[in-house]
Protein backbone atom coordinates (compact mmCIF):
# COMPACT_ATOMS: atom_id res chain seq x y z
CA UNK A 1 0.00 0.00 0.00
CA UNK A 2 1.59 3.24 -1.10
CA UNK A 3 0.18 5.71 1.45
CA UNK A 4 1.60 3.98 4.52
CA UNK A 5 4.06 6.25 6.29
CA UNK A 6 5.89 5.75 9.56
CA UNK A 7 5.82 8.43 12.26
CA UNK A 8 9.38 9.75 12.33
CA UNK A 9 9.18 10.28 16.09
CA UNK A 10 8.01 6.78 16.99
CA UNK A 11 10.95 4.40 16.93
CA UNK A 12 12.53 4.23 20.37
CA UNK A 13 10.24 1.55 21.84
CA UNK A 14 10.98 -1.77 20.04
CA UNK A 15 7.55 -3.06 21.07
CA UNK A 16 5.42 -0.29 19.57
CA UNK A 17 5.44 2.29 16.74
CA UNK A 18 2.96 4.65 15.08
CA UNK A 19 2.32 4.99 11.35
CA UNK A 20 -0.30 6.62 9.14
CA UNK A 21 -2.46 5.55 6.25
CA UNK A 22 -5.13 7.56 4.47
CA UNK A 23 -5.48 10.01 7.34
CA UNK A 24 -5.76 7.21 9.92
CA UNK A 25 -3.39 6.84 12.88
CA UNK A 26 -2.27 3.25 13.43
CA UNK A 27 0.05 1.54 15.90
CA UNK A 28 1.95 -1.71 15.45
CA UNK A 29 2.75 -3.86 18.49
CA UNK A 30 5.31 -6.65 18.91
CA UNK A 31 4.25 -9.90 20.59
CA UNK A 32 5.31 -8.45 23.96
CA UNK A 33 3.52 -5.16 23.22
CA UNK A 34 0.41 -7.09 22.17
CA UNK A 35 0.38 -8.97 25.49
CA UNK A 36 0.52 -5.63 27.35
CA UNK A 37 -2.30 -4.27 25.15
CA UNK A 38 -4.53 -7.28 25.90
CA UNK A 39 -3.92 -6.80 29.57
CA UNK A 40 -4.65 -3.05 29.27
CA UNK A 41 -7.83 -3.53 27.20
CA UNK A 42 -9.22 -5.82 29.91
CA UNK A 43 -8.83 -3.22 32.70
CA UNK A 44 -11.65 -1.04 33.98
CA UNK A 45 -9.52 2.12 34.22
CA UNK A 46 -8.67 2.06 30.51
CA UNK A 47 -12.25 2.17 29.24
CA UNK A 48 -13.21 4.69 31.94
CA UNK A 49 -10.38 7.10 31.03
CA UNK A 50 -11.01 6.67 27.28
CA UNK A 51 -14.68 7.58 27.90
CA UNK A 52 -13.55 10.66 29.83
CA UNK A 53 -11.27 11.67 26.94
CA UNK A 54 -8.17 11.30 29.13
CA UNK A 55 -6.68 8.47 27.05
CA UNK A 56 -6.88 8.52 23.27
CA UNK A 57 -9.65 6.27 21.90
CA UNK A 58 -8.05 3.05 20.57
CA UNK A 59 -9.43 0.00 18.76
CA UNK A 60 -7.98 -3.13 17.15
CA UNK A 61 -7.32 -2.71 13.41
CA UNK A 62 -6.99 -5.15 10.55
CA UNK A 63 -5.14 -4.16 7.41
CA UNK A 64 -1.73 -3.54 5.87
CA UNK A 65 1.16 -2.28 7.95
CA UNK A 66 4.76 -1.36 7.26
CA UNK A 67 7.36 -3.47 9.12
CA UNK A 68 8.65 -2.19 12.44
CA UNK A 69 11.58 0.29 12.40
CA UNK A 70 13.76 -2.77 13.17
CA UNK A 71 12.39 -4.65 10.13
CA UNK A 72 10.10 -7.10 11.92
CA UNK A 73 6.42 -7.83 11.34
CA UNK A 74 3.93 -6.57 13.94
CA UNK A 75 1.92 -9.04 16.02
CA UNK A 76 -1.08 -6.71 16.51
CA UNK A 77 -2.34 -3.47 14.96
CA UNK A 78 -4.37 -0.74 16.67
CA UNK A 79 -6.10 2.39 15.42
CA UNK A 80 -6.10 5.63 17.43
CA UNK A 81 -8.46 8.57 17.23
CA UNK A 82 -6.70 11.36 15.30
CA UNK A 83 -5.40 14.39 17.23
CA UNK A 84 -6.63 17.43 15.24
CA UNK A 85 -3.36 19.41 15.57
CA UNK A 86 -0.19 17.93 17.06
CA UNK A 87 1.53 20.31 19.49
CA UNK A 88 4.57 20.00 21.72
CA UNK A 89 5.41 20.84 25.35
CA UNK A 90 7.66 23.74 24.29
CA UNK A 91 4.53 25.32 22.79
CA UNK A 92 2.44 24.98 25.95
CA UNK A 93 2.06 27.70 28.62
CA UNK A 94 2.45 26.90 32.33
CA UNK A 95 -1.05 25.65 33.11
CA UNK A 96 -1.15 23.45 30.00
CA UNK A 97 2.11 21.77 31.02
CA UNK A 98 0.89 21.48 34.62
CA UNK A 99 -2.41 19.90 33.56
CA UNK A 100 -0.53 17.52 31.24
CA UNK A 101 1.79 16.50 34.11
CA UNK A 102 -1.17 16.03 36.46
CA UNK A 103 -2.97 13.87 33.91
CA UNK A 104 0.10 11.68 33.37
CA UNK A 105 0.26 11.00 37.11
CA UNK A 106 -3.51 10.45 37.35
CA UNK A 107 -3.23 7.81 34.63
CA UNK A 108 -0.30 6.03 36.31
CA UNK A 109 -2.21 5.99 39.63
CA UNK A 110 -5.34 4.60 37.97
CA UNK A 111 -3.23 1.96 36.21
CA UNK A 112 -1.46 1.00 39.47
CA UNK A 113 -4.83 0.22 41.05
CA UNK A 114 -5.03 -2.60 38.53
CA UNK A 115 -1.35 -3.60 38.73
CA UNK A 116 -0.31 -1.81 35.57
CA UNK A 117 1.93 1.21 35.11
CA UNK A 118 3.75 3.12 32.36
CA UNK A 119 7.28 2.31 31.27
CA UNK A 120 8.10 6.01 30.87
CA UNK A 121 7.05 9.44 32.12
CA UNK A 122 7.62 11.57 29.04
CA UNK A 123 5.82 14.84 28.30
CA UNK A 124 5.45 13.69 24.68
CA UNK A 125 3.10 10.94 25.91
CA UNK A 126 0.50 13.70 26.04
CA UNK A 127 -1.31 15.81 23.48
CA UNK A 128 -4.04 18.44 23.68
CA UNK A 129 -7.39 18.29 21.95
CA UNK A 130 -8.48 21.91 22.34
CA UNK A 131 -8.02 22.65 26.03
CA UNK A 132 -8.20 18.99 27.09
CA UNK A 133 -5.00 16.99 27.65
CA UNK A 134 -5.06 13.37 26.53
CA UNK A 135 -2.61 10.48 26.94
CA UNK A 136 -1.62 9.04 23.56
CA UNK A 137 1.15 6.50 24.20
CA UNK A 138 -0.82 3.27 24.48
CA UNK A 139 2.43 1.34 23.98
CA UNK A 140 3.70 2.72 27.27
CA UNK A 141 1.48 0.56 29.51
CA UNK A 142 3.02 -2.54 31.08
CA UNK A 143 2.62 -4.72 34.17
CA UNK A 144 3.71 -2.84 37.31
CA UNK A 145 6.64 -3.95 39.44
CA UNK A 146 9.10 -2.14 41.69
CA UNK A 147 9.79 1.58 41.34
CA UNK A 148 8.16 3.72 38.60
CA UNK A 149 10.53 3.54 35.58
CA UNK A 150 9.17 6.88 34.35
CA UNK A 151 10.27 8.89 37.38
CA UNK A 152 13.44 10.33 35.87
CA UNK A 153 11.81 11.21 32.55
CA UNK A 154 8.88 12.76 34.40
CA UNK A 155 11.32 14.93 36.37
CA UNK A 156 13.25 16.11 33.33
CA UNK A 157 10.42 16.64 30.89
CA UNK A 158 7.57 17.78 33.17
CA UNK A 159 8.43 18.40 36.83
CA UNK A 160 11.66 20.41 36.45
CA UNK A 161 10.22 22.77 33.80
CA UNK A 162 7.28 23.44 36.13
CA UNK A 163 9.60 23.98 39.13
CA UNK A 164 11.78 26.37 37.11
CA UNK A 165 8.78 28.46 36.01
CA UNK A 166 6.94 28.37 39.34
CA UNK A 167 9.88 28.97 41.69
CA UNK A 168 12.32 30.97 39.57
CA UNK A 169 10.03 32.70 37.06
CA UNK A 170 12.17 31.39 34.17
CA UNK A 171 10.39 30.38 30.95
CA UNK A 172 10.94 26.67 30.26
CA UNK A 173 9.83 26.70 26.62
CA UNK A 174 13.25 27.62 25.15
CA UNK A 175 14.90 24.94 27.34
CA UNK A 176 12.46 22.23 26.25
CA UNK A 177 12.93 23.25 22.64
CA UNK A 178 16.70 23.12 23.13
CA UNK A 179 16.71 19.61 24.65
CA UNK A 180 13.86 17.21 23.88
CA UNK A 181 14.60 15.13 26.98
CA UNK A 182 13.83 18.19 29.09
CA UNK A 183 15.91 19.93 31.76
CA UNK A 184 18.65 17.56 32.97
CA UNK A 185 19.05 16.82 36.66
CA UNK A 186 22.40 18.61 36.77
CA UNK A 187 21.11 21.69 34.92
CA UNK A 188 18.11 21.90 37.24
CA UNK A 189 20.43 21.61 40.26
CA UNK A 190 22.53 24.44 38.85
CA UNK A 191 19.49 26.69 38.87
CA UNK A 192 18.46 25.89 42.44
CA UNK A 193 21.37 27.05 44.56
CA UNK A 194 21.45 28.61 48.04
CA UNK A 195 18.09 29.07 49.70
CA UNK A 196 16.31 28.07 46.50
CA UNK A 197 17.15 24.46 47.35
CA UNK A 198 14.43 24.61 49.97
CA UNK A 199 11.62 25.63 47.61
CA UNK A 200 8.72 23.16 47.42
CA UNK A 201 9.71 19.84 45.83
CA UNK A 202 13.27 20.92 45.01
CA UNK A 203 15.41 19.23 47.65
CA UNK A 204 14.46 15.60 47.03
CA UNK A 205 13.70 15.71 43.32
CA UNK A 206 16.51 18.01 42.23
CA UNK A 207 19.25 18.50 44.84
CA UNK A 208 19.42 14.99 46.29
CA UNK A 209 18.87 13.49 42.83
CA UNK A 210 21.84 15.43 41.44
CA UNK A 211 24.06 14.90 44.44
CA UNK A 212 23.57 11.11 44.42
CA UNK A 213 23.97 10.96 40.67
CA UNK A 214 27.32 12.74 40.76
CA UNK A 215 28.62 10.42 43.47
CA UNK A 216 27.15 7.16 42.26
CA UNK A 217 28.87 6.95 38.88
CA UNK A 218 29.48 3.37 37.84
CA UNK A 219 28.18 1.62 40.90
CA UNK A 220 24.89 0.00 39.94
CA UNK A 221 23.04 -0.66 36.70
CA UNK A 222 19.36 0.20 36.46
CA UNK A 223 18.30 -3.45 36.34
CA UNK A 224 20.48 -4.26 39.34
CA UNK A 225 19.05 -1.34 41.31
CA UNK A 226 15.51 -2.40 40.41
CA UNK A 227 16.23 -5.94 41.57
CA UNK A 228 17.68 -4.69 44.85
CA UNK A 229 14.87 -2.24 45.57
CA UNK A 230 12.21 -4.81 44.73
CA UNK A 231 14.02 -7.35 46.90
CA UNK A 232 14.05 -4.85 49.77
CA UNK A 233 10.26 -4.49 49.51
CA UNK A 234 9.70 -1.74 46.90
CA UNK A 235 6.44 -2.92 45.37
CA UNK A 236 3.41 -1.47 43.65
CA UNK A 237 2.17 0.23 46.83
CA UNK A 238 5.42 2.19 47.12
CA UNK A 239 5.32 3.11 43.44
CA UNK A 240 1.85 4.45 44.14
CA UNK A 241 3.23 6.46 47.08
CA UNK A 242 5.89 8.02 44.81
CA UNK A 243 3.35 8.97 42.15
CA UNK A 244 0.88 10.28 44.74
CA UNK A 245 3.58 12.53 46.25
CA UNK A 246 4.46 13.84 42.80
CA UNK A 247 0.79 14.54 42.04
CA UNK A 248 0.46 16.45 45.30
CA UNK A 249 3.55 18.50 44.46
CA UNK A 250 2.43 19.29 40.89
CA UNK A 251 -0.97 20.43 42.20
CA UNK A 252 0.73 22.88 44.56
CA UNK A 253 2.86 24.59 41.89
CA UNK A 254 1.66 28.04 40.97
CA UNK A 255 3.14 30.75 38.87
CA UNK A 256 3.52 34.37 39.91
CA UNK A 257 2.40 36.71 37.14
CA UNK A 258 3.94 40.14 36.82
CA UNK A 259 2.03 41.24 33.72
CA UNK A 260 3.27 41.52 30.15
CA UNK A 261 3.14 44.02 27.33
CA UNK A 262 0.22 42.14 25.81
CA UNK A 263 -1.82 41.09 28.82
CA UNK A 264 -4.04 44.18 28.66
CA UNK A 265 -3.76 44.76 24.92
CA UNK A 266 -7.53 44.80 24.46
CA UNK A 267 -7.73 47.80 26.81
CA UNK A 268 -4.73 49.72 25.55
CA UNK A 269 -4.89 49.15 21.78
CA UNK A 270 -5.92 51.89 19.41
CA UNK A 271 -9.33 50.42 18.43
CA UNK A 272 -12.56 52.22 18.87
CA UNK A 273 -15.65 50.18 19.73
CA UNK A 274 -16.87 50.79 16.18
CA UNK A 275 -13.55 49.36 14.84
CA UNK A 276 -13.90 46.27 17.01
CA UNK A 277 -17.51 45.68 15.93
CA UNK A 278 -16.71 46.12 12.23
CA UNK A 279 -13.74 43.79 12.57
CA UNK A 280 -15.83 41.11 14.28
CA UNK A 281 -18.49 41.39 11.56
CA UNK A 282 -15.82 41.06 8.84
CA UNK A 283 -14.35 37.93 10.49
CA UNK A 284 -17.84 36.43 10.97
CA UNK A 285 -18.65 37.10 7.32
CA UNK A 286 -15.45 35.30 6.19
CA UNK A 287 -16.36 32.33 8.42
CA UNK A 288 -19.99 31.99 7.36
CA UNK A 289 -19.40 32.61 3.66
CA UNK A 290 -17.41 29.37 3.40
CA UNK A 291 -17.02 27.69 6.82
CA UNK A 292 -13.44 26.39 7.16
CA UNK A 293 -12.51 23.10 8.85
CA UNK A 294 -9.32 24.44 10.45
CA UNK A 295 -8.46 28.03 11.29
CA UNK A 296 -5.03 29.31 12.26
CA UNK A 297 -5.21 32.52 14.31
CA UNK A 298 -1.74 34.10 14.11
CA UNK A 299 -1.04 36.62 16.88
CA UNK A 300 -4.24 35.55 18.65
CA UNK A 301 -3.68 37.60 21.83
CA UNK A 302 -6.64 36.99 24.17
CA UNK A 303 -8.33 34.76 21.58
CA UNK A 304 -11.35 37.03 20.97
CA UNK A 305 -11.30 36.27 17.23
CA UNK A 306 -10.35 32.60 17.79
CA UNK A 307 -13.57 32.24 19.77
CA UNK A 308 -15.58 33.82 16.94
CA UNK A 309 -13.87 31.47 14.47
CA UNK A 310 -14.58 28.50 16.77
CA UNK A 311 -18.32 29.12 16.39
CA UNK A 312 -18.05 28.24 12.69
CA UNK A 313 -14.91 26.11 12.22
CA UNK A 314 -14.23 22.56 13.39
CA UNK A 315 -10.91 23.50 15.01
CA UNK A 316 -8.95 26.67 15.72
CA UNK A 317 -5.25 26.91 16.57
CA UNK A 318 -4.56 30.19 18.39
CA UNK A 319 -0.88 31.15 18.35
CA UNK A 320 0.81 34.02 20.17
CA UNK A 321 4.35 34.56 21.43
CA UNK A 322 3.21 35.97 24.78
CA UNK A 323 3.05 33.10 27.28
CA UNK A 324 0.98 35.10 29.70
CA UNK A 325 -1.91 35.84 27.34
CA UNK A 326 -1.91 32.28 25.98
CA UNK A 327 -1.93 30.87 29.52
CA UNK A 328 -4.89 33.12 30.37
CA UNK A 329 -6.62 32.02 27.15
CA UNK A 330 -6.04 28.35 28.04
CA UNK A 331 -7.60 28.83 31.50
CA UNK A 332 -10.54 30.67 29.96
CA UNK A 333 -11.11 27.93 27.35
CA UNK A 334 -10.77 25.21 30.00
CA UNK A 335 -13.22 26.96 32.33
CA UNK A 336 -15.72 27.68 29.53
CA UNK A 337 -15.37 24.10 28.26
CA UNK A 338 -14.52 25.24 24.72
CA UNK A 339 -13.25 22.06 23.10
CA UNK A 340 -12.14 23.21 19.66
CA UNK A 341 -9.57 25.95 20.31
CA UNK A 342 -5.92 24.96 20.88
CA UNK A 343 -3.83 27.79 22.38
CA UNK A 344 -0.08 27.69 21.66
CA UNK A 345 2.90 29.83 22.64
CA UNK A 346 5.20 30.54 19.73
CA UNK A 347 7.22 33.40 18.32
CA UNK A 348 6.08 33.53 14.70
CA UNK A 349 9.40 35.06 13.68
CA UNK A 350 11.16 32.07 15.25
CA UNK A 351 8.64 29.22 14.96
CA UNK A 352 9.19 25.63 16.18
CA UNK A 353 11.72 23.83 13.93
CA UNK A 354 12.02 20.12 13.12
CA UNK A 355 13.80 18.55 16.11
CA UNK A 356 15.28 15.28 17.29
CA UNK A 357 16.63 12.37 15.24
CA UNK A 358 17.19 13.52 11.65
CA UNK A 359 15.19 16.66 12.47
CA UNK A 360 12.04 14.57 12.12
CA UNK A 361 10.98 13.37 15.57
CA UNK A 362 9.15 16.61 16.26
CA UNK A 363 7.94 18.36 13.15
CA UNK A 364 8.28 22.03 12.39
CA UNK A 365 5.34 24.40 12.78
CA UNK A 366 5.39 25.03 9.02
CA UNK A 367 4.95 21.30 8.34
CA UNK A 368 2.05 20.99 10.81
CA UNK A 369 0.17 24.16 9.90
CA UNK A 370 -2.26 23.18 7.13
CA UNK A 371 -5.26 25.45 7.76
CA UNK A 372 -8.23 26.26 5.53
CA UNK A 373 -8.26 29.84 6.74
CA UNK A 374 -5.63 32.08 8.35
CA UNK A 375 -6.47 35.02 10.61
CA UNK A 376 -3.70 37.60 10.65
CA UNK A 377 -5.18 40.47 12.63
CA UNK A 378 -3.02 43.34 13.87
CA UNK A 379 0.07 41.27 13.14
CA UNK A 380 1.67 42.50 9.90
CA UNK A 381 3.06 45.72 11.45
CA UNK A 382 4.77 43.74 14.20
CA UNK A 383 6.46 41.45 11.67
CA UNK A 384 7.36 44.24 9.25
CA UNK A 385 8.45 46.95 11.69
CA UNK A 386 9.28 45.38 15.07
CA UNK A 387 10.93 42.27 13.54
CA UNK A 388 12.23 43.90 10.32
CA UNK A 389 10.69 41.24 8.05
CA UNK A 390 10.43 42.80 4.55
CA UNK A 391 6.80 43.37 3.52
CA UNK A 392 7.07 41.11 0.39
CA UNK A 393 8.40 38.36 2.66
CA UNK A 394 5.45 38.79 5.07
CA UNK A 395 3.00 38.34 2.17
CA UNK A 396 4.96 35.34 0.81
CA UNK A 397 4.78 33.79 4.28
CA UNK A 398 1.00 34.29 4.43
CA UNK A 399 0.76 32.65 0.99
CA UNK A 400 2.82 29.66 2.21
CA UNK A 401 -0.15 28.43 4.27
CA UNK A 402 -2.00 27.87 0.98
CA UNK A 403 -5.26 29.00 2.57
CA UNK A 404 -7.74 31.88 2.51
CA UNK A 405 -6.59 34.76 4.69
CA UNK A 406 -8.25 37.50 6.67
CA UNK A 407 -5.44 40.01 7.07
CA UNK A 408 -5.42 43.39 8.76
CA UNK A 409 -3.09 46.16 7.65
CA UNK A 410 -2.54 48.86 10.25
CA UNK A 411 -1.64 52.14 8.53
CA UNK A 412 1.63 53.99 9.30
CA UNK A 413 -0.27 56.85 10.98
CA UNK A 414 -1.97 54.55 13.52
CA UNK A 415 -0.72 55.19 17.10
CA UNK A 416 0.35 51.54 17.50
CA UNK A 417 2.52 51.71 14.36
CA UNK A 418 3.85 55.12 15.40
CA UNK A 419 4.93 53.59 18.69
CA UNK A 420 6.84 50.84 16.86
CA UNK A 421 8.39 53.30 14.40
CA UNK A 422 9.57 55.49 17.28
CA UNK A 423 11.97 52.70 18.30
CA UNK A 424 13.59 52.52 14.84
CA UNK A 425 15.84 54.94 12.94
CA UNK A 426 13.75 57.21 10.67
CA UNK A 427 13.40 56.33 6.98
CA UNK A 428 13.82 52.56 7.39
CA UNK A 429 10.21 51.65 6.68
CA UNK A 430 9.19 54.04 3.89
CA UNK A 431 7.76 51.08 1.96
CA UNK A 432 5.38 50.30 4.82
CA UNK A 433 2.35 51.79 3.03
CA UNK A 434 -1.16 50.56 2.32
CA UNK A 435 -0.73 50.79 -1.48
CA UNK A 436 2.50 48.72 -1.35
CA UNK A 437 0.82 46.11 0.84
CA UNK A 438 -2.34 45.92 -1.32
CA UNK A 439 -0.23 45.51 -4.47
CA UNK A 440 1.92 42.73 -2.90
CA UNK A 441 -1.18 40.96 -1.59
CA UNK A 442 -2.91 41.23 -4.97
CA UNK A 443 0.00 39.51 -6.73
CA UNK A 444 -0.26 36.37 -4.59
CA UNK A 445 -3.95 36.37 -3.64
CA UNK A 446 -7.26 37.19 -5.30
CA UNK A 447 -8.74 39.87 -3.03
CA UNK A 448 -12.39 38.97 -2.33
CA UNK A 449 -13.24 41.71 0.12
CA UNK A 450 -11.78 44.89 1.63
CA UNK A 451 -13.04 47.01 4.48
CA UNK A 452 -11.60 50.19 5.97
CA UNK A 453 -12.41 50.29 9.68
CA UNK A 454 -14.32 53.39 10.93
CA UNK A 455 -11.28 54.70 12.86
CA UNK A 456 -9.58 55.28 9.49
CA UNK A 457 -6.20 53.69 10.30
CA UNK A 458 -6.87 50.00 9.70
CA UNK A 459 -7.91 48.04 6.60
CA UNK A 460 -9.09 44.43 6.44
CA UNK A 461 -8.73 42.08 3.46
CA UNK A 462 -10.31 38.72 2.72
CA UNK A 463 -8.15 37.00 0.11
CA UNK A 464 -7.98 33.66 -1.69
CA UNK A 465 -4.57 32.27 -2.78
CA UNK A 466 -3.90 32.54 -6.53
Amino acid sequence: VSDLSADAGSFRDPDSAVFYTGGRVLRGLSARGAADWERLAATAFFSRLVDEGKIVATHPYTGDAPPSPRGEAWATLLEHERIPFVSYPYEWPFHMLRDAAALHLEIVLAALDENMSTKDGYSFNLQFVGSRPTFIDIGSFEAASGPWPGYRQFCESLLFPLLVQAHLGIAYQPMLRGRLDGISVSDAAGMFRGLRKWKKGVFRNVVLHNSLERRAKGTTSTQDMKKQLTGAGFGVELQKATVRKLAKLVGKLHVKRRGSAWADYRDTCSYTDADAQAKQAFVRHAMTQRPPATVLDLGANDGAYSLIAAEHADYVVAVDFDELVIDALYLKLRDLGVGNVLPLVMNLVDPSPGLGWRNGERTSFAARARPDLVLSLALVHHLAIAANVPLPEVVAWLRSFDARVVVEFVHPEDPMVQRLLANKPPGLFDDYRIDTFASLLGKRFAIEGTEALPGGTRTLYLAEPR
Binding site: W148, R152, R204, T220, Q239, T242
Partner: protein, 81 residues
Protein backbone atom coordinates in the same frame (compact mmCIF):
# COMPACT_ATOMS: atom_id res chain seq x y z
CA UNK B 1 36.80 -18.59 32.69
CA UNK B 2 38.20 -16.28 35.33
CA UNK B 3 39.07 -13.67 32.75
CA UNK B 4 35.58 -13.90 31.27
CA UNK B 5 33.85 -13.52 34.63
CA UNK B 6 36.00 -10.60 35.57
CA UNK B 7 35.56 -9.02 32.14
CA UNK B 8 31.77 -9.12 32.24
CA UNK B 9 31.77 -7.87 35.82
CA UNK B 10 33.96 -4.94 34.90
CA UNK B 11 31.68 -4.29 31.95
CA UNK B 12 28.62 -4.30 34.20
CA UNK B 13 30.30 -1.93 36.61
CA UNK B 14 31.45 0.40 33.88
CA UNK B 15 27.98 0.62 32.37
CA UNK B 16 26.17 3.54 33.85
CA UNK B 17 22.53 4.14 33.34
CA UNK B 18 21.74 7.10 35.49
CA UNK B 19 18.23 5.67 35.84
CA UNK B 20 19.49 3.58 38.76
CA UNK B 21 20.01 6.68 40.89
CA UNK B 22 16.61 8.02 39.86
CA UNK B 23 14.97 4.77 41.01
CA UNK B 24 16.74 5.15 44.33
CA UNK B 25 15.55 8.76 44.62
CA UNK B 26 11.97 7.76 43.72
CA UNK B 27 12.02 5.54 46.82
CA UNK B 28 12.97 8.55 48.93
CA UNK B 29 10.26 10.63 47.25
CA UNK B 30 7.72 7.97 48.31
CA UNK B 31 8.11 9.12 51.93
CA UNK B 32 8.66 7.13 55.13
CA UNK B 33 7.82 3.73 53.62
CA UNK B 34 10.31 4.41 50.84
CA UNK B 35 12.98 5.43 53.32
CA UNK B 36 12.43 2.14 55.13
CA UNK B 37 13.18 0.32 51.88
CA UNK B 38 16.34 2.37 51.39
CA UNK B 39 17.50 1.50 54.89
CA UNK B 40 16.71 -2.16 54.31
CA UNK B 41 18.68 -2.03 51.07
CA UNK B 42 21.75 -1.73 53.21
CA UNK B 43 23.58 1.03 54.90
CA UNK B 44 26.87 0.15 53.16
CA UNK B 45 25.37 0.43 49.69
CA UNK B 46 23.92 3.78 50.68
CA UNK B 47 27.30 4.95 51.96
CA UNK B 48 28.92 3.72 48.76
CA UNK B 49 26.88 6.28 46.85
CA UNK B 50 28.73 9.00 48.71
CA UNK B 51 32.16 7.54 49.32
CA UNK B 52 34.62 6.43 46.63
CA UNK B 53 36.43 4.35 49.31
CA UNK B 54 33.28 2.44 50.22
CA UNK B 55 32.59 2.03 46.51
CA UNK B 56 36.07 0.58 45.87
CA UNK B 57 35.68 -1.77 48.84
CA UNK B 58 32.32 -3.01 47.56
CA UNK B 59 33.73 -3.51 44.09
CA UNK B 60 36.76 -5.46 45.39
CA UNK B 61 34.40 -7.61 47.44
CA UNK B 62 32.33 -8.39 44.35
CA UNK B 63 35.39 -9.33 42.27
CA UNK B 64 36.69 -11.59 45.08
CA UNK B 65 33.30 -13.25 45.38
CA UNK B 66 33.14 -13.83 41.62
CA UNK B 67 36.63 -15.32 41.67
CA UNK B 68 35.67 -17.67 44.50
CA UNK B 69 32.55 -18.79 42.64
CA UNK B 70 34.55 -19.36 39.47
CA UNK B 71 37.25 -21.33 41.30
CA UNK B 72 34.62 -23.53 42.97
CA UNK B 73 32.96 -24.23 39.62
CA UNK B 74 36.26 -25.09 37.79
CA UNK B 75 37.04 -28.88 37.32
CA UNK B 76 39.63 -30.29 39.78
CA UNK B 77 43.01 -30.87 38.12
CA UNK B 78 43.94 -34.58 37.96
CA UNK B 79 47.42 -35.50 39.35
CA UNK B 80 49.96 -36.79 36.82
CA UNK B 81 50.15 -40.57 36.71
Amino acid sequence: LLADTEGSLVHTLAYLDSGSVSMFVSAIVAGFAGLAVVIKLGFRRFLALFSPRQRAALRAEKVAKAQQTAAAAAPQSTPAP
